[in-house]
Each structure stands twice: as structure tokens, then as C-alpha cells.
Symmetry: C2
Amino acid sequence: MNLLLLESSDFNSDGTAVITGRRCRQLVDVIRATAGKRCKAGILGGKCGTAEILNITPNECRVNFTPEKEPPAKHDIVLIAALPRPQSLCKVLHCATTMGVRKLCFIQTFKVEKSYWASPRLADNEIRDELILALEQCGDTILPEVSFFRTFKPFIEDELENLATGTRLLGDPAGTPAEFQEAATLAIGPEGGFTDYEKSMFYQHGFTPVSLGERILRTEFAVAGLLARLSLK
Amino acid sequence: MNLLLLESSDFNSDGTAVITGRRCRQLVDVIRATAGKRCKAGILGGKCGTAEILNITPNECRVNFTPEKEPPAKHDIVLIAALPRPQSLCKVLHCATTMGVRKLCFIQTFKVEKSYWASPRLADNEIRDELILALEQCGDTILPEVSFFRTFKPFIEDELENLATGTRLLGDPAGTPAEFQEAATLAIGPEGGFTDYEKSMFYQHGFTPVSLGERILRTEFAVAGLLARLSLK
């Protein structure tokens, strides 16, 4: 936790915030917070600043928050990923959020196992918890938008044009080297890749293949590497 | 498994290779291999090529391997990472290997918990297993060199000059944007970062801080992102 993320529900009428549960335990165990100490903090959906610990026990911590600046700007990147297996989904959510992606779309493709859609990890509260942890890691306060599209064709025909921004790129080891883009929509295939039909649909919608080299990477590392390239500035 | 990795011990005197255990199960379960099918394969430490399945049961598979080409070139990058917690070590090993790092060095720093050095994950055979999985993922056959240095000062004073190659870079959210390097040595701190003393030692040895932006990333995603930037070509 590099940033203590406060929610409006944490605040009392006197303007102080009271934290319990995981965040309190992390303040005690990891940051070794004591009364009078300060730590980086932010308001979910709002500004970053400093929290002063007023008092702390293993179960409850009261802080005074001073807002100071805007959170780090998001990159104007939309990530479209074939729904990965549940453990990998968490990593992709974490990676994309910490790297400042504005919008994430998970889609069905031919090689996505149907069972992935039944995972409890897709529940709204599970997704939100993962995003919160990622914001705390990277020092951001703004949740990215996350959407799920359970059928490929309606997504590509009806939704994509509304979602896409900037240069349209399809991750592919055989593509040209990925480079900086002011704004981009990046599509990442499942294990086993997009089918030729799926690729052709992306190409019809203006996507071009980009690569990090001929090596085939796990989804989360392909996402991390491609995002690092696209956001170079 | 995107490449079936064969070892010299798999080969019989008739030139065919016999595979059992995990690799055989993956051929059966994931690749759905049957007699006559072909898959990408390689010899550990040698060439990439094609394996033709001669016969296969759930427990044993016999293949005929034809070497065709050199494995993908490694990047001339040496990665120096503060020893991460054991689960993260596996991810860093996997990420750096799949992204083609030539040499990995894990070091002690002030903020590395001593208990990490006692993890069974550091055993030679555990490290080798992780590297093999990574080679199978990315389609490479050459193991990177992996070394461990349990004390910081002897490492930085006595070992670093022999290990380092190319531009010397220290990952730091406050650094300048990481960009392509023909050859590079990249140092990555622990959770909580290098101490000022440790940074000053790296600076004395010619390192400069490089960044992916102000966001603080998990070690494995910082590694993935920085490697993607350094290897852009």
C-alpha cells in the first residue's frame, strides 16, 4: 500500500476519517503507523494528499486528510482483452490499473474457455477490490472503467466503435514494434490467440498488429510490456 | 507450452526422444497431440525446430525432432533485482526469461527481508524448473544465467563491474523515461525501494535513474515494462 485510499463513507461529520479492517492492519503491520505519523493518501475518485494519523489501534485508525494535488493522469488507452483464466484476470486488472489504463474491456473469443465466465472473480465486488488494491499500489485514486462482453460478434459490430480511441492496435508477436501513441485501443488475444476470423474482424475495424518481438509472453506480461511502450513519454 | 523443450537425456540411440511426466501430459491435454501431429520444439541449449509425434499414450510420448533454426536472440540486458518475496521471485524469473534477458542477479538490500533467502524456491532445481517453463512459454531454448548475492557491499564493490554491460540504469519512478538501449544493466529495488546509501553506491558505479512514470508498480510489472522499453527495436 503506497497510498491510503479513503472513501467518502470513511469520513465523520468532524472531517476526520476512521479506517478499520485491511487498511488499518496494513497501516499497523506494514507502514508501522503511530499517532502523529503521516502517510500518502487519497480520496477515491478525488485528490491525493497526506493523512496524519490521529490515533491508531490494531482495529481502528483515525486520520486527518489534507488534499494536495490531482492524482496522476491516466493514459488515454483502452485495453480490450480476451477474458483470461481467473488468476490471470486479477493480474491483468492489477497491471492495467497500476499502469494507468482508462478503460478495460474483457471479451469472449473462440479460444476463451466458457467456464471462465462463471468464475466468482468476475463479481462486481471482487473486481472492485482488485482495482482498489491496484490504486493503492500505484498511487492513483480514479477507478478505471471495466466492462465485460460475453459474445464476440455483437461486441465487434455494435460496441467497438463507441469504445475505441486513438490508434487501433492488435497485440501479435508477428506485428511491427509497438511504439508510443497519444491515444490507443489495444486488443490482446487469449492463450492460443485470436482466430483468423477474429483477427479479420479487428482488421476491418482499423486495427493493425503490433509486437514486443517474436517471443510469446503470458497475457499479463504482454499487457505490461505493450502498455509501457504505448505510454512512453 | 508453446514449444516442446527436449533435453539430451530424452534421446535414445535411434535418435528419437521419449517424453514422460508433465510435458507428456501437456501434449495430451493442451495440445491434444496424436500420432503424426507436429509441434514446435527445441533442444535445451540448442536449436528450435519441429517435433513429429511418433506415438503417444497418457504417460509416454515418442517424437522425432528436426532442428531448423537458432532460438530467438537474447537481449543484451543484465537484470539486477533486490530479492523479491518468493511468489514474486517466480514471476520475475518468468518475466525476465520470456522477455529474453541474458543474465539475472538477485541481491540483498536493506529492505529485503532476510527470511526470503531461506525460501525453498531458491533451490537450484526450483529455479531451473521455473526457467524451463518460461522457455517453453516464449519459444526459447537458452537458459539465462541466474546468480544470487547475499550481501550488498561485496556485490556492489567486487562483483558489479564484472557483471554490468552497456548503459547502467536504476529503476526509479522519479527518473527520466526509459528508452531503447543496445545493451543495458538494469537495477530494480525491493518493495520500499533502495535506501539513499544504496542508490548512492549505484550512482558511484555509473547508474542513472530511469522511469515508466510516477506510478509505483509491482516488481514483476516494473520489470516487464522497463524491459519492453529497453528492448524496443
